[in-house]
Subunit: 154 residues, 2 copies
DNA sequence: GTCCGGGCCGCAATGTGTTGCAATAGCGAA
DNA sequence: TTCGCTATTGCAACACATTGCGGCCCGGAC
């Protein structure tokens, strides 16, 4: 029995989006390079959020010659493919959502420094308010809202 | 008739918050310096929003020796006094609200690159939603929400 | 007017992100 | 396999923001 068949029967989940990355990249006339492979290897080991700085460090563990500009440019590419999505922390620094499934934003408390995810259910109010009042469709994932959490009032 | 009396009778508006800055600074045991004077002179000529970069340039017009770090540190001080308030543009760069009267946020359209103010009336929905659902009190002025405007849908 | 303590400045280094450019190297075609 | 087009890389320079530190100077005391 071939491997492909065994794998197909092993679960209902399809192939990881990362597995398709190489084909999707080449399909666009773009090229599959060692640098891109390294970054994707790093990304597929993580989930949730990462800063670009941390990604650069992890890439450098695997390939000492990693260059920041290449990583940033590859992240732009992966964002075009929808494999990552960047936002900005409270201080404006970039953060990447890995394989963003449900779009969510972030809340940051200036009192205690904690960050929470702003779930779509809660964010929906914001999205709907701006849509109905201004015809503006919000991209929650790009936003970090600052303020004070329940435990840090005044 | 002394000048003070003439000025007092000239209008109903109180003194500009900038006029009190020097006293408020010294009252805290802090010092009134030429560098701080220069920045405040620049700020009192403008209203609305400014980037730190532009403030540095304007200061340098008056004083060629202006240094970025001093401007940034003075902006921090003025923010503590409530005379300015910083937020972040869609790309994370700092923007300053000068003499923030009503707190407002910003909307940025990724389609056409336009920025709008998010008026308190509209922002109120956001503030209230997060307050009631999460006990989180939002600081709208620190936020730029990205998305697409009515004219740029899909 | 002089002195003195400590707040402030300028500098240099660091962190983070972007961009132009010349050389390299994918990859499809022959 | 080799060739050639061009996407991509690495570098250097730049833009923006923050921080530690040594020396300066503001401003209250006398
Ligand atoms: Mn900020
Ligand atoms: Mn952004
Ligand atoms: Zn808190
Ligand atoms: Zn638009």
């Amino acid at each position: 029995m071939p491997h492909a068949e065994m794998n197909a029967g092993a679960g209902v989940t399809g192939p990881s989006p990362w597995d398709q990355a190489v084909d999707r990249i080449r399909a666009g006339g773009l090229r599959w390079t060692p640098q891109r492979r390294t970054l994707i290897e790093v990304l597929r080991e993580r989930e949730g959020h990462v800063t670009a700085t941390e990604l650069i460090a992890r890439c450098r563990e695997r390939d000492q010659t990693t260059t920041p500009s290449t990583v940033y440019r590859t992240l732009d590419l992966l964002e075009d493919l929808g494999l990552v999505r960047h936002g900005h922390g409270h201080d404006g620094r970039e953060e990447y959502h890995i394989l963003p499934q449900e779009v969510h934003g972030h809340l940051y408390c200036v009192g205690c420094g904690t960050t929470w995810e702003l779930r779509p259910e809660t964010g929906a109010v914001i999205v709907e308010a701006l849509a109905s009042q201004l015809g503006f469709s919000v991209d929650l994932s790009h936003v970090t809202i600052s303020g004070r959490c329940a435990g840090c009032h005044d």
